[in-house]
């Protein structure tokens, strides 16, 4: 097991370095130079002197390999540089917004799991009946509905029927748990629906597969109580791929949050990212893309390890 974990971590390093190189190269692909784009793109006159000063501040006057080494060294010290828009350190900008996004992500995961496992299980047990069709359409619709539109519809419904608008200011959970939860449950629902759709489909297909296994027939043959077969034998074995999907989708949530936070006016990582792209804040975009890719890769690693821990066949391959 330890050897497996160590091997997986070692395999992750080239990917992470590659991601860092890609992000670094991406920002150098810009037509023109980022300082000019940032300061003089709207046609305003900016003196050469100001541009040079800004370049020096960002270290862009140095040769490209030195810029890369500096950047990598910064990453190792968890220093991603400064935002070109606010001038604050990027790690600070991310830090103050991380909590909101993380909480919404965790809440949507919980919603997804609560919805997906029973629904997928019922659909599999009632295969090809109207119940199965209804659940399948519900989940395919979840994949097709844009989460931002679902969010707009939720707000709309509240405004029309309850004249309630989502509060503009974020309340942390330790200040007022009720206000916090009632604020964040809706964005979590908007992102969680899509998430649950993916997990429902996965649960359904794996339960169907497991139900055809020999050990289920054996359990039935020896006269085990049907409910016990389902919970002990079927569900337990069907959970592996479901856990993988839940883990992978957790990493994808960052993508879903990009639009949902915009709708619900939440000042989280997703909104920061969109604002950074809109403001042409290249250093911030660079830092955020890198962070997202790292979170994504590490989530993948955790899922892999969890999988190997649950299924010994994998770690001995």
């Amino acid at each position: 097991m330890y050897r497996y974990i160590i091997r997986r971590i070692l395999l992750m390093i080239p990917t992470l370095v590659g991601v860092a190189i890609l992000v670094f190269v991406l920002m150098r692909l810009l037509p023109g130079d980022i300082v000019e784009m940032r300061l003089a793109s709207e046609g305003a006159y900016v003196s050469e002197e100001t541009l040079d000063k800004e370049r020096a501040r960002l270290g862009l006057d140095k040769p490209i390999w030195q810029q890369f080494v500096n950047w990598m060294w910064g990453i190792c010290r968890l220093d991603l540089g400064e935002s070109m828009w606010t001038g604050q350190p990027i790690t600070y900008e991310i830090g103050i917004r991380f909590q909101v996004s993380l909480q919404v992500a965790v809440m949507s995961t919980i919603i997804a799991v609560i919805l997906a496992i029973p629904l997928g299980m019922i659909a599999a047990l009632k295969q090809d009946t109207w119940v199965d069709y209804a659940i399948r359409i519900f989940s395919i619709a979840g994949l097709a509905t844009p989460s931002f539109w679902l969010g707009i519809m939720i707000i709309l419904a509240f405004l029309i029927f309850f004249t309630w608008a989502p509060p503009m200011v974020f309340t942390p959970i330790w200040v007022d748990p009720v206000a916090n939860l009632s604020q964040l449950i809706w964005p979590a629902l908007a992102t969680g629906y899509r998430y649950s759709a993916v997990a429902t489909r996965m649960t359904r297909s794996t339960v169907l597969e497991v139900l055809r296994e020999d050990y289920i027939r054996t359990a039935r043959a020896k006269g085990l109580w049907e409910k016990l077969i389902l919970v002990r034998h079927a569900l337990k074995n069907a959970m592996l791929p479901v856990i993988t999907v839940i883990g992978l989708e957790f990493a994808f949530l960052i993508g879903g949050l990009v639009v949902t936070e915009q709708v619900f006016n939440l000042n989280g990582i997703g909104k920061l990212f969109v604002d950074a792209v809109g403001n042409k804040d290249y250093t911030l975009v660079q830092g955020l893309v890198l962070m997202v890719a790292f979170v994504f890769t590490i989530t993948n690693l955790v899922v892999d390890i969890l999988y190997a821990w649950l299924d010994p066949r994998i770690r001995y391959q």
């Binding site: 931002f148 029309i160 791929p241 994808f252």
Partner: protein
């Protein structure tokens, strides 16, 4: 079955054409019979293509025409789906928006899947160190969620229809390449590839003539699956103001254009464009799923 008939019966070119046609007819018939949901999806897709092509003919108003007397008109007989903040007819904008969605969706999915097809097959064909290198590169691209990579491309190249197509294409390429490669790996082991090489054919010829035709199934599956994703991604980018730009009619853009601010006074502005997106993506998804089941059941679960 078709092969038997060809052997038993005198195979004049006329006959061949007929068996080929009836084979197609049979396949379509089987699809309709066993995949009702997929057929509904296919019908909606066909309908949307028709709408997009004939937008000029069927849309009741000019989608760009502003009418300041009839702002925020609720749905009625003159404006079936109401009007927006500039008095523009929402139904006409949705009809023209289908053109944008189809254009962006189809172009991005086609370029993305085709590039992925070539990369995947070439990677499997050459194998060894090249394969390893390509795989690591794809890994790197796959470590960004779709929308994050698309947004990064937008950050670099800016907004606008062509740039949005590019932004959506980039994250799709590695996803198709990955799936195609795994199918191509199996084909590479079949002796006819070795035979082709023994004949002294060039790498290009072997890849295009001998390997590509055998990975058409996963390619087509990815192509349809990408359509839905591309439409959803375009809508998200446009909604964020980082995709297609005004005044081009686009579904995502219609939701951004004040839909939230006007939610209280003009809910139809937010409801209908979102429905259009959902139905379009739904149709492509169910059609793609059924196509996958029919063409290649082994790919079940592949996204």
């Amino acid at each position: 079955m078709a092969v038997d008939r060809q052997i038993l019966e005198p195979s004049t070119p006329n006959h061949l054409a007929e068996t080929k046609r009836s084979k197609w007819k049979q396949a379509v018939f089987r699809f309709i019979r066993y995949k009702p949901l997929g057929t509904v999806g296919a019908a909606i897709v066909l309908f949307m293509i028709l709408v997009a092509v004939s937008a000029e003919v069927i849309s009741p108003y000019d989608p760009l025409e502003t009418d300041y007397i009839n702002m925020f008109t609720p749905p009625d007989f003159t404006h079936w789906l109401g009007t927006d903040a500039f008095g523009r007819d929402i139904m006409s904008r949705i009809i023209y928006g289908s053109r944008t969605a189809m254009l962006v969706g189809f172009t991005a999915a086609f370029i993305g899947a085709t590039l992925g097809l070539f990369i995947g097959v070439a990677s499997a064909y050459f194998g060894g160190r090249i394969d390893l290198l390509v795989q690591r590169l794809l890994d790197i691209f796959m470590s960004f969620p779709l929308i994050i990579l698309a947004l990064s491309v937008v950050a670099i190249f800016g907004t606008g229809t062509e740039k949005v197509i590019m932004a959506i294409t980039v994250p799709l390429v590695p996803r198709c390449a990955r799936v195609v490669r795994s199918s191509a790996l199996a084909i590479r082991e079949i002796p006819y590839v070795d035979a082709a090489r023994a004949c002294g054919f060039t790498h290009w010829r072997i890849i295009v003539r001998h390997m590509l035709p055998n990975v058409v199934a996963p390619y087509l599956i990815m192509l349809t699956a990408f359509q839905g994703q591309a439409i959803l991604l375009e809508a998200s980018l446009s909604f964020l103001g980082l995709g297609v730009q005004e005044p081009t009619p686009a579904w995502g853009l219609m939701l951004q254009g004040g839909a939230e601010e006007y939610a209280e006074s003009a809910p139809w502005m937010a409801i209908f464009p979102g429905l259009a997106i959902s139905i379009a993506v739904f149709a492509f998804n169910v059609f793609g799923d059924s196509l996958r089941d029919v063409l290649d059941p082994r790919l079940r679960g592949a996204k």
